[in-house]
Amino acid sequence: MDAYTDKIKEISKKILSEGKVDVVIGFRKGTLGYMSEPYMAKSEKDAENLVFDCNCRMNLVNYVTNRKDKVGIVVKGCDSRNLVTHIIENKIKRDQLYIIGVPCTGLADKKALLDLAEGEITSVEDDNETITIKGDGFEKKVAKKDVLQSNCKTCIKRNPVIFDELAGAEVPELEITDRFADVDEVEKMSADERWNFFGELLSECTRCYACRNACPLCYCPTCFVDESRPQWVGKSDNDTDVLTYHFLRAFHDAGRCTDCGACEAACPMDIKMRYFTRKTIKDCVEKYGFETGMELEQRPALDQYKINDPNEFIK
């Protein structure tokens, strides 16, 4: 991972000094050992702070929405697909961007790291195979594949789709056998079981909207939860309101979600809201053979149609 960090610094310094970009959006070390934070490097000196490791769970595409200047941005495979969606949806122009692609070997699950630690974590080192957690009086090594975020286990595109420069050699893509196992499991339940399952899943939600704010797809000037005339969703933590919020958020992301996992990583209550978005991904893949953000010419799944789309559910 240090090789990635060095390369990102090198590229950033180069494009900043040549004046190709006004700012490089990347990650820097967070105040907690197992977190990183978004960072805007505006000078060569700033660029020294940039890092990349298994704690870079955020999706930086969130920060390029509607920017007018030229930006360099560090993207993982999933983020690059969001960038494609952004370009298609006219949220940024391709020629404003200098894309530093990171061939990604997955991110570490925040909760898994915390569970392993025997105290406060001061640093997390990642060499693509093993993760070393260091803290107050303990040091632990763990295989990276054992602490991966769940979305990284079913990742279909680890290498960036579009980029100007890569921060390392491309990595082999994963071979996934059962991509939607979690969704299938829920679908097998009866209607009442599913209802209870989702009631349980969302019971802790405090409606802080961290998942919405972490998501690059959620850029509407007025979100449906803030609309008041008419008011579609109540603002309380009433069960129905919470479910309506998560349902509609997932629906708005249908055909656009790349399963980057930023929503779950941002959640302070560890709610697995990807059960909703993954269902929409599954439907788009199975019904329309559609994968989000793979090419610049393809509109999102719900923004296009074919004459022979499935019609059986309509009388």
Binding site: A191, D192, N238, T244, L248, K279, T280, Y305, D309, F313
Partner: protein, 143 residues
């Protein structure tokens, strides 16, 4: 106890299905009176928000009807609607609302007979399921 009569919110597109409802009425076709019709310009206008809103406020069923594919007054509104409804329909079932509360149909303005038949079918299906219990927003009970 009197027999359960469901409340069904029906979204009809102005150009086809609303005309069909009109024709069914003018032709005196009989169907149960359990639905409340909302006229929309196109089935593509119907947003998931509206459908969820109906359920939240206690509708026992929702039925959306538009022009046949290829006949849309706005050329492609119902094609977009079809994709939207397909994903929505899956999601509604996925979260645990019973199959058969949400219905879709294509009915042209010449199909008064089909309108009455589908209306009967929708109302029967929802009546069998009984009153909706899920996804209704209840106000907190104050002692």
């Amino acid at each position: 106890m009197s027999e359960f009569e469901p409340k069904i919110i029906t979204f009809l597109c102005n150009w086809c299905s609303y005309g069909a409802a009109d024709l069914a009425g003018v032709s005196r076709f009989q169907y149960p009176p359990s639905m409340r019709v909302i006229r929309v310009p196109c089935s593509g206008r119907v947003s998931p928000k509206m459908i969820l809103s109906a359920f939240r406020k206690g509708a026992d069923g929702v039925w959306v009807s538009g022009c046949h594919p290829g006949d849309c007054h706005y050329i492609s509104g119902n094609y977009y609607a079809r994709r939207k409804f397909d994903v929505l329909n899956e999601m509604i079932e996925y979260i645990g609302i019973e199959k058969g509360r949400l219905h879709f149909s294509w009915i042209s303005s010449a199909e008064g007979v089909k309108f009455a038949a589908v209306a009967k079918d929708v109302i029967e299906t929802v009546t069998k399921l009984g009153p909706a219990k899920k996804f209704i927003k209840k106000l907190p009970e104050v002692a």
